[in-house]
């Protein structure tokens, strides 16, 4: 019962899937790059603005 309740709370707290717009704060994330180094968005933009390119990927 306790586990079920916890699951329900997690579902309700799920972050909305929204593309951040201009003047909004982008949600932070952490991913590995192609060489295995982990980067958070916060660390990537810490010293200078970044152009972030979402691309379709490799065929």
């Amino acid at each position: 019962m306790r586990e079920k309740d916890a699951g329900a709370v997690l579902y309700l707290r799920k972050e909305p899937q929204i593309t951040p717009d201009v003047r909004e704060e982008a949600p932070d994330f952490e991913l590995f790059d192609s060489t295995g180094v982990a980067h958070s968005l916060a660390s990537l933009v810490a010293s200078r603005p970044r152009v972030l390119l979402f691309y379709r990927g490799h065929w």
């Binding site: 003047r23 192609s34 970044r50 152009v51 390119l53 979402f54 990927g57 490799h58 065929w59």
Partner: protein
Amino acid sequence: MAEYGRAYGAIRAAGADVVALSVDSQARSEAVRTQLVLPYPILCDPARVVVRAWDLYNPREMGGIAVPAVFVIGPDRCVRYRSIDSPRERVATDGVMRFLRGEARGEVLTRERVRAGLGEFSRAVANAVRRGFRTPHE
């Protein structure tokens, strides 16, 4: 991707930097980075966590891929510019450059048609033969 590689020096000179993101594995992304000699990192989101969270996930193509988009994000994680593009049209790199230089204030940057050259097409075919096509479970 390659255009931002060629413009990288100018982007750095404008005080900015670049990072790319796709749902490809590290091996595939590294192949792209070395093939195109990209001077910036490629982030890998094979679990599609970030593309979903940012609502930039296209589940209908190629096993589920990112919607092409360009953001400029400031040190406070504040979005300064965004362009949600399509496979056929994307914001012009020189427009993004003008934005970074502060020359495009209030201007709606134009999108240009994506033209895949013969080199790009043959590279894609060669890569597909060498490494196979993407699957949703990759």
